[in-house]
Symmetry: D2
Subunit: 437 residues, 4 copies
């Protein structure tokens, strides 16, 4: 195949906010500087291979709806090559330098693990060739440990030692090809690391096995010489009833308990946050203040549904609050903004793939522009700082320095006149925030 897969789509250009062209950027201007950094360096967008090139519109009640031009309906190596070529054409036309993949997205499974690995090597070789002379490379790679029936009881948490070994082999290989392709991170999403019922589960053993697996991965990464960041991706539920990496706090606690806090950061997804009962900002901030914000899966859920809808994020207010955290974090490189988002099942035009990504990129860019204004204005930060100012008093400092105990604090309380407390000013804070959107 030498031709184009998207012959009717040209390179997407920045046309500014007044443009009504759906195939142009209105807010994302890659080379423009915001707060001392280019937009493309703040945002480091990445296309998710699985949604964009393997998503066929299947849902739990329906079969596939997409008929992409490069797809011949087989699961052949030739098909895999063509998908990879489509991926690169898409990345170039969109102006995106990163892509993310699972091992099994890009190459078909063979009859044996050996054959599977050979298939993977063949496709990786093509991808390397396609990367040559470009800035394109993986934001991260990962191993798909959830789709095949062998992983139905889990992978690193499978009750069966043979599956544990198979998962290890698969992660090892996925890490190697990620390294070979110049990937900057490696992600673990524990697709079936969890349980369906406590009645048939030994949760302690599963958690211990999972911790050990991550330790082995860490050790192997060093032997391999891979310098990228290892990332865990929290999700509370789905496909299992309980996923062990429930949310940011749970995952950080798990890492800490097993001495792995320094070896991992987190890949945080908005839709997973809301499934866990948190705002997306909560999860990002919780990771940030603990130094664990590694990378971002830029998507959104539907506030009224209880499953992962993986929609492209278009809410500007949400994007603004996300970017406020990213700015406070001074960026998230070597992480980035991976569009772990899929077209709606009913969106079957090739141009929808572009429209969805453009909308997603413009939304984050607009969020960045708004966040810049909020940061430069400073009103919001001042409001927060003022609230906590009393902890900068001598008493506040004595407390923070651990110099006084309950006895001294009791004396303080007994001897002080109580004064009414200041207002929390939440409505004012909201007014200020929205005035920049």
């Amino acid at each position: 195949w030498e031709g184009e897969f998207f012959p009717n789509i040209s390179y997407i250009r920045y046309e500014g906010p007044a443009s009504r062209n759906p195939l142009a950027f209105k807010w994302y201007n890659a080379e423009e500087e915001i707060l001392g950094k280019k937009m493309k360096d703040w945002l480091r967008f990445s296309v998710a291979f699985w949604h964009t090139f393997r998503g066929d519109g299947t849902d739990i009640f329906g079969s596939s709806t997409k008929r992409w031009p490069w797809d011949d309906g087989t699961d052949s190596l030739m098909m895999a090559y063509n998908r990879m070529r489509a991926n690169f054409e898409f990345l170039k036309k969109l102006g995106v330098n990163f892509w993310c993949f699972h091992d099994r997205d890009i190459a078909p499974e063979g009859k044996t693990l050996k054959e599977t690995n050979a298939n993977l090597d063949a496709v990786v070789e093509l991808a390397k060739k396609l990367q040559e002379g470009t800035n394109i490379h993986p934001l991260w790679g990962t191993a798909q440990l959830f789709k095949h029936r062998r992983y139905m009881h889990g992978a690193a948490t499978s009750p069966y030692v043979s599956i544990y070994a198979y998962a290890a082999a698969q992660v090892k290989k996925a890490m190697e090809v990620t390294y070979e392709l110049g990937g900057e991170n490696f992600v673990f999403w524990g697709g079936r690391e969890g349980y369906q019922s406590l009645l048939n589960t030994d949760m302690k053993q599963e958690l211990d096995n999972m911790a050990l697996f991550l330790k082995l991965a860490t050790a192997y990464k060093k032997r391999l010489g891979f310098q990228g960041t290892l990332l865990l991706e929290p999700k509370p539920q789905e496909p299992t009833k309980h996923q062990y990496d429930w949310d940011v706090a749970t995952t950080m606690g798990f890492l800490q308990k097993h001495g792995l806090s320094d070896e991992f950061k987190l890949n945080i997804e908005c839709n997973h946050a809301t499934l866990a009962g948190h705002s997306c900002s909560h999860e990002l901030e919780m990771a940030r203040i603990n130094g664990m914000f590694g990378s971002f899966d830029a998507n959104t859920g539907d506030a009224q549904t209880g499953w992962d809808t993986d929609q492209f994020l278009v809410d500007i207010a949400e994007a603004t609050s996300i970017m406020l955290t990213v700015i406070k974090n001074k960026g998230i490189a070597p992480g980035g903004f991976n569009f772990d988002a899929k077209l709606r099942r009913e969106s079957v035009d090739v141009e929808d793939l572009f429209i969805a990504h453009i909308a997603g990129m413009d939304t984050m860019a607009r969020g960045l522009r708004n966040a810049e204004k909020i940061v430069e204005d400073g009103t919001l930060q001042t409001l927060v700082d003022n609230r906590y100012a009393s902890f900068e008093s001598p008493l506040g400092k004595a407390i923070k320095d651990g110099k006084i105990g309950f006895e001294e604090l009791e004396q303080e309380a007994l001897n002080s006149e109580e004064a009414p407390l200041p207002s929390g000013k939440q409505e004012l804070a909201e007014m200020v925030f929205y005035s920049f959107i």
Copy 2:
């Protein structure tokens, strides 16, 4: 006051399952032995002073509905004495040896902290007298750090240092009176330790302040000589949008991060579990396998409502799975089963207080009896053990002993023939579980 508050209620007796007397136990037989321990020692029931003696039926849309015989509508010391006498009459008639309280439940707030403390001392003196010659004493005490407007922005997480000091003074005093009354534990429920909006919150400072507060509490406990267990109580939301002690995993992670894991255990409430999106069993098991299951708030929520309903738990299947965890934990002393549950707003008869507690006690007792049968039968445990048996193989042991890495596991996977995996047998496990209920 010398008379009875419940003149029409006699001592509640065990009459066995055939009884239709609402004012008798059908399943709870305090002295009967189950699996080598008396029922009363497995269950260590406790009455929650706040719900039973301060709950007046107020809800967010309605004013009080209860008109208890001992209540004169004032917040006087005399009223406090009478409530305490009613508490002891209730405990004795119910045959329960433990009670739980917040400082402000049992004694009225004065004009100054000094006066408040004096009020508390006066009521504690009476309680001590009433305890004399009985086995009755507090399962735990705690400080109410959420009702007064001074705590509207939090207590240990208040942005105001004066409030931090006040909270410290209050916890110090509450710990002292718990100690004085022979309380076996001291609980921290972070009623307003959380946030309403991230826009006006410095989450890092609040979490650090909270950790420091718990360290000071630990230090003071030792100076005081109090031997009881310190317990944190997880809850995800309500009253704040986000409570920092979200769930068991979050709370354990927080303790660990701040080096407090050995100083605290957890007081786990079923209703809080479901608000966090977990089954009650999940939270109990998660605590148990981490050695953190300290005590239990025996209640339940409504599966269809998004707020804390604090109902008496009457679901036998739920009670059975709770007791399975308690048995695996070999009991939870010095913790116990505190009925953090309230009458429905519309239940205004004095006898309803008894009926509700009897139903709650009988339900847990029935759960214990069922769990005993499940444990003695062994089918369920065997089903679980068989699932994980391959981790007892040489390969399994080598993995668990950390003797092999990804390379060896890969060789194993490459060289093994894949066999179909056994069934997870969840339906069979459910059939077995329910056959004992």
Copy 3:
């Protein structure tokens, strides 16, 4: 194929509560009379062809896990014949006389609608032969209007008139074969009758089109001479964000608005109830008191997950409250108890199919036995009747007869002394309910 598909499974027998045999009934004794009716006539169990014979364990993150003995991996007519034979062997061994099906479950789709209809006719002919000399026949049939990509925008609510016509043709044919097989009901579950986004939807037109479609179905049913009941099945979400037949109340309102209340009843599913934020009992009672309780999809969800898990219902308390409504309704014939429930993805043994159905049947049977006791005891009904007794007073009757207006009621209120209200006695009611479980 002449052999058995389940050679290792014998006919399932009633062995009573003491039996520990997973392949026997402990509570369901088909011929035993309860409240004047045989258990099999109260319960009218039905096997759902789709879950039991087409469910392969696929979920949104995973491919198939089951390898059933009759399955050759093709979608051929021969395969369809074998599946149908397996269905009848399963029904006979389980002792169940009803089955439910979608048109596309039982026969493969052809290249044209004509060919598809011919395939369907061929399989229906076999099914008729297999039914001969047995009591077995469909509880209901239905048309699968959600799986094929042609229905991605809806069927009766598709924006495309060609799809509307196709759906009509499909329902017509499905109704005909249901009639031919002696089916007692015909179900409409609006799999994609709903929307994903209001932004691209004309909700009024879709609802009007749907109403018209149901009218056409009603008219055709009469021309066909089909005497069975037409049933709508409420579900709030999934696969679409909003399904028009959201819950019982919504569906009844829709039918009423379009003058269809007398032509339809409802097929109610527990799992759909909980997804809609209702208890299963609420939905059943709401239908019952409006004379709309037509049939029951016996399953359950997971209280902590936000999607349809379609589990076999094993909760005895839930089953008891369901059966209380069924008894109040004097049974639900010509409806029945269809097991719209699937094995967990990890349950891959053929015997799991039997175990799951046996557990489901025993649970409902146990619920029936408990409900009988509650009804015969009468305490619970008396408690309710007493609460409403004042509406049997002269004033109550005058109100109910519409004889007095606001003026007279105001006089009544002005002239009466207010007395404290009785207790709602919810805890007592719960104690009584659970004492029979």
Copy 4:
């Protein structure tokens, strides 16, 4: 009292989007015309007396936090007069012409109903005087049938006939004073019309009683000569587990069943929509297409909490979609935008009352401005119209006119070639929508 309650707050003026003054409008310019109507006539803002003048910051775990200048802590008539004066000063300074109230918000309950009515008359007299010479009058009045313990089992659905009469008397009087004050609507929010448990409830009798009550109200309204609209307000839960007016669809179905559809419209609240599992837009559109959109309670909930938070709506995208429905409805007069929203408990400055209302008004005004642009642009409407165009074909018209049945549709389907369906274009629709925000 002759002075000002808000001496430091001047009349709020429109200063345009560039203003950073928290006490000025940036988007709401009352006299400016949008799509042929003044902003104040599209929006018809109303202040909710209960939140603004009776809300004291109490929540389920905390006592009051507000100390408003006009509040002397009593529940006296003098206090009621002062609150009413504060209300009018607030309305005037804010530039709002409508207010909404419950009977018991504005006047204290007496020892008898007669005395209570007299109190109400006295305050109403003052309010009338304060209204003189202004355009200010109630958007709607209502009766508070949920706070007093007499209503704990419901009002129109109380099992006790005496309470039913009392509720009738109270609604009668509330309707009279609403009429007297020139109120344009009268609202029924069934605060406790629902149940806590089905075990002690006769749902059929309660629903029938409620329907009868509404009929009596309708009849009395006519005798009284009140021309305003009667409005029901849906809410799914809280305070009861199940509120009978669950959502828009349920409430419309109930009205229809009882022949009340022409007598009532709906007062729709965003926060109630989300509690029911719907988007706010869904509820508004469902009412609009059924001709039942009567009035709007302008607030919002928190997407992550399961209770009514009644926050001021500040989300611009939400406001835009609300205003799109309002424009399609050609406005909602005689209904309006009532701020059924309260300050956060921690917001205790008098200026917070102004800031919150200004933010709420500006948000809706901004939504109106955005919606105007979307309507004038027309792209979104064209996208929708095109999707449904095939229903304007001869076949489409024949279907809609009821001229053809299943037989003809089947012929159509059998004889047509199937073509791939167009894309749903959801991502494009979202891109267009957000480009105007």
